[in-house]
């Protein structure tokens, strides 16, 4: 899942982890508020040169809906929200921001799960929701030119009557926008076979912080110079603002079938995944759920999952009718040879969709088992799965918090869902600590702290574990090449070395102490 819809936040409660301003005496506070209101008024006045009044939101009531994205744990109120509807307006806003050194945070539908669209208190939030038109659906050439605020699913909905679709399908696809997908390099359950956003985008047109308009990529298969399209994809709004996107449309596979296989242990299921791939089969989707996730999903969706199983695999095969028949045969053979406890092939399209519904509702399903839940997004080499799950069991016991696991088994992307009760004192804090421990475990076994949700503000500390100071410095240099003043989405995605030193749990590279040049507190 790349991102759940906005109504299914990753953390269903607010831990208030944002550093709060230190307590001030009331006169200082009043002066600060007055200053802030004055700046808001002045900025709104200046922006009114290029934007109609209804495109500038400045009252507290208007700003509140924008104070967080899908990660509601973090909240901040921007000085202003601007909602341009032309590229020229975006350019003007960026030039103004650049000239006045005002931070800019871009936002699509706000479904992201890592706080990537969390506003900056001293900046403006650039909402791209009005860029919601499909500009061109070129059936002959198999591409769609769309504005960044177009919803992911809307592209496939428009193309499907013509036998085409846009492949990346994050779980939030009904709500999330293509611009946000570029920012996060979103995946989906079918990305093992059809790739991530980076594999399915032909070009993006961006506005730089200087207000320049640039198209990266194009209709040719490559471009002169550096591949800035690849760099832009997944850059979390740190490098430029996407104002137009051209995506590749693929022919809808004539046939898709789902095989459901139950196992007595997670190890056996993990082993079966390895065997499917070793047999030379790349399923369209390959999802693994552990027992707590199976029970939760079944209770929620009543889709016919075997609740006595320790692990469940959903394996989708697509292609031409001939291809699918032969692949189902081979996959079933592999599962039988992998001590499967029960094997079922969905015998209708309705059943296939129902079985997927169970998997796709795993988040809200787990959400019914506990007052709150927290979704983690790490990737691990698949061979480490049983070790990671075992270690996670131990951590779960240690922290006294149950965990359910859904796993994009084909590509190693693990989503542990930690169940907790934010009403109990200290439980939220323990949950965050457990989450951080799990991400560090992912790095330890050779994986990464984020497979698809992005770093945002959420995983900024764990980046210090994954990358050494030289690499983080290189990231900052790349950022500076695009945005020398550091105005685009400040404080997100890449931690400062200072922050890493404060976090303490640091990357040890070649046995050396990291950041030897930094003073310690």
């Amino acid at each position: 899942m790349s991102a759940e819809p906005a109504d299914q936040p990753a953390v269903s409660h607010s831990p208030g982890s944002i550093p709060q301003p230190v307590a001030e005496d009331s006169s200082q506070n009043e002066a600060r508020i007055a200053q802030r209101l004055e700046r808001r008024r002045r900025f709104a006045g200046e922006l009114a040169q290029w934007l109609p009044a209804e495109s500038i939101l400045s009252s507290e009531e208007q700003l509140r809906p924008y104070e967080s994205d899908g990660l509601t744990a973090f909240k901040a109120t921007p000085l202003l929200v601007v909602l341009p509807d032309t590229i020229e307006q975006v350019q003007a806003v960026m030039r103004w921001a650049s000239a006045n050194a005002v931070p800019v945070v871009a936002r699509g539908a706000g479904t992201g799960l890592s706080g990537g669209a969390l506003p900056h208190e001293d900046g403006i939030l650039l909402g791209l929701a009005r860029f919601n038109r499909i500009l061109e659906l070129n059936l002959e050439l198999g591409h769609a030119r769309v504005q960044p605020g177009v919803r992911n699913l809307a592209i496939s909905d428009a193309a499907r009557p013509h036998g085409l679709y846009y492949a990346p399908d994050p779980s939030s696809q009904i709500a999330c926008t293509i611009g946000g997908n570029i920012a996060e390099n979103s995946g989906g359950v079918h990305c093992l076979k059809y790739g991530l956003t980076v594999h399915n985008v032909l070009s993006v047109t961006v506005v730089t912080i200087d207000g320049d308009l640039l198209t990266l990529g194009g209709e040719a298969q490559d471009s002169a110079g550096y591949d800035l399209l690849a760099l832009m994809t997944g850059s979390e709004g740190m490098l430029a603002v996407v104002v137009e996107v051209c995506v590749k449309l693929l022919p809808v596979p004539p046939e898709a079938r789902l095989v459901m296989a139950a196992f007595d242990s997670v190890e056996a299921a993990g082993d079966a995944v390895g065997r499917v791939i070793a047999a030379g089969i790349i399923p369209a989707g390959l999802e693994l759920m552990d027992k707590p996730a199976i029970i939760a999903a079944e209770a929620f969706a009543k889709c016919g999952y075997p609740t006595d199983a320790a692990a469940l695999l959903l394996c989708e095969l697509d292609g031409t009718a001939e291809e699918v028949v032969s692949q189902i045969e081979r996959v079933s053979e592999v599962f039988r040879a992998s001590s499967v406890s029960s094997l079922h092939i969905a015998d209708s399209e309705a059943e296939r969709l129902l079985l997927w519904k169970g998997r796709k509702s795993a988040f809200p399903a787990v959400g019914r088992l506990a007052p709150d839940y927290y979704c983690i997004d790490g990737t691990i080499p698949r061979r480490q799965l049983s070790h990671v799950l075992q270690r996670m069991d131990e951590l779960s016991e240690e922290y006294g918090l149950p965990i359910a696991n859904v796993f994009h088994a084909g590509d190693g992307n693990l989503h542990p869902l930690i169940m907790f009760d934010a009403g109990k004192p200290g439980e939220l804090h323990r949950t965050e600590q457990l989450g951080s421990q799990i991400l560090q475990l992912c790095v330890e076994v050779g994986g990464t702290v984020t497979g698809e949700h992005g770093v945002g503000v959420e995983k900024i500390n764990e980046m210090c574990v994954q990358f050494d100071s030289d690499t983080l410095t290189q990231f900052h240099s790349v950022k500076a090449a695009f945005d020398p003043q550091g105005l685009l989405n400040p404080g997100k995605a890449v931690p400062t070395l200072q922050r890493c030193a404060e976090f303490g749990a640091m990357h040890i590279h070649h046995g050396e102490l990291p950041f030897p040049d930094l003073e310690r507190f």
Binding site: A220, I282, V455
Partner: protein, 372 residues
């Protein structure tokens, strides 16, 4: 295969070069010595050989990932993958002594590219020495990873100007169960016929046009390939052309050798549906019309102008006269931004100075007054 981790020595060489501001020409198999603006190569540069940095670091077929040192010969890597029934789906071209580092640095891919994806599509992680002599690791060995900017994919096609590629992790895929080529009579330049085929759910893995023949390659399960072959019809490949895909991929085909006096080989990269370009010479259309090879005596300026007008770019694929730009010139905002990107990795312009886009070797100052 020789397993040799030369990274410590390479790192030391780069650190030394950085401290003395000595430019470095990165060389491995030297199989593409004619590519890029080689004549403009910095004369006083030292060669940095990658050949002693070779071998497969890890390969677990069920994970679909291989990690390899960049001085590893492509043939060697292909052999190891084939033993496990797998492959690099972008079909790296194999010129004599080609290394995987060289293929990635030049961003090359074989006939499967429009169907299977490009070299950068399969790169998951890299270990790179930047111009400050720092040993950096980006991405990783997992397929989904959005931690940090995607600097690994950015390295592909950068001609080594963003750092010395030490190690690379790539996604691999199973080899297809069946493969079959169909040959049809065709009108030269009839690339629009490809566009129609590309929008159908066919298991295509190659589509090219050589003179008056169209070649379509089908790859996939036995069932899918034979069904598609029935649907498309056409002749099967004659025996004397049984290795035609490999020949075109590796530039061993007659077309690439046929340059007569004054003609030079160009790679023109345009949209597959772009109309025929008005340039003199002979054409071979690969990548369903998106990669067009041209043997021509037209000037570099004319070829670059025509390629740009068609929405693409052109690269000279052979040695050329000094001063002629082998790559499509970059200008305006794009040039300034790309130059700053180069700046962020190699501020002193140590690596392959002059080899890539020479216009990126002028150091940009970020606060420089904006042009026009």
């Amino acid at each position: 295969m020789i397993h040799n981790d030369d990274s410590a020595a390479l790192l030391e060489r780069v650190q030394q070069a950085a401290s003395t501001a000595t430019p470095l020409n990165i060389v491995a198999g030297n199989s593409k010595h004619w590519l890029g603006n080689h004549r403009a190569l910095e004369e006083r540069a030292d060669a940095l050989s990658m050949l002693s940095h070779s071998g497969i670091i890890s390969y677990e077929p069920t994970e679909l990932v291989v990690s390899v040192r960049t001085g590893t010969p492509v043939t060697e890597l292909n052999r190891v993958l084939a033993e496990a029934g797998q492959m690099l789906p972008f079909e790296p071209p194999v010129l004599p002594a080609s290394t995987i580092g060289g293929v990635l640095a030049c961003g090359m891919a074989g006939p499967a590219r429009p169907f299977a994806g490009s070299a950068r599509d399969y790169v998951l992680g890299t270990r790179v020495i930047n111009g400050q002599g720092h040993d950096l690791s980006f991405g990783g060995e997992v397929m989904k990873n959005v931690a940090g900017y995607d600097v690994s994919r950015l390295q592909v096609g950068a001609y080594g100007t963003l750092g010395v590629l030490l190690d690379v992790s790539m996604k691999v895929l199973p080899r297809p169960e069946a493969e079959l080529t169909l040959v049809h009579a065709a009108t030269p330049h009839d690339t629009p016929s490809f566009a129609r085929l590309l929008r159908q759910p066919l298991p295509l893995s190659g589509a090219m046009l050589i003179a008056d023949r169209r070649y379509l390659r089908l790859s996939g399960s036995e069932a899918a390939v034979s069904a598609a072959a029935r649907e498309l019809g056409g002749d099967t490949l004659p025996d004397d052309e049984s290795d035609i895909w490999q020949q075109v991929r590796d530039h061993e085909h007659e077309f690439f050798k046929s340059a007569e006096g004054g003609k030079r080989l160009w790679r023109v990269s345009v949209a597959d549906h772009a109309p025929a370009l008005d340039l003199p010479g002979e054409w071979l259309h690969d990548w369903a019309g998106a990669q067009r090879w041209l043997q021509s005596d037209a000037s570099a300026e004319d070829i670059h102008r025509a390629a740009r007008a068609a929405g693409g770019h052109a690269t000279r694929y052979c040695a050329g006269p000094p001063g002629e730009n082998a790559l499509q010139p970059l200008d305006g905002v794009m040039r300034r931004l790309q130059s700053r990107v180069r700046d962020s990795f190699d501020a002193q312009r140590l690596f392959n100075r002059g080899r890539f886009h020479p216009e990126l070797d002028t150091i940009e100052h970020t606060q420089m007054a904006r042009e026009g």
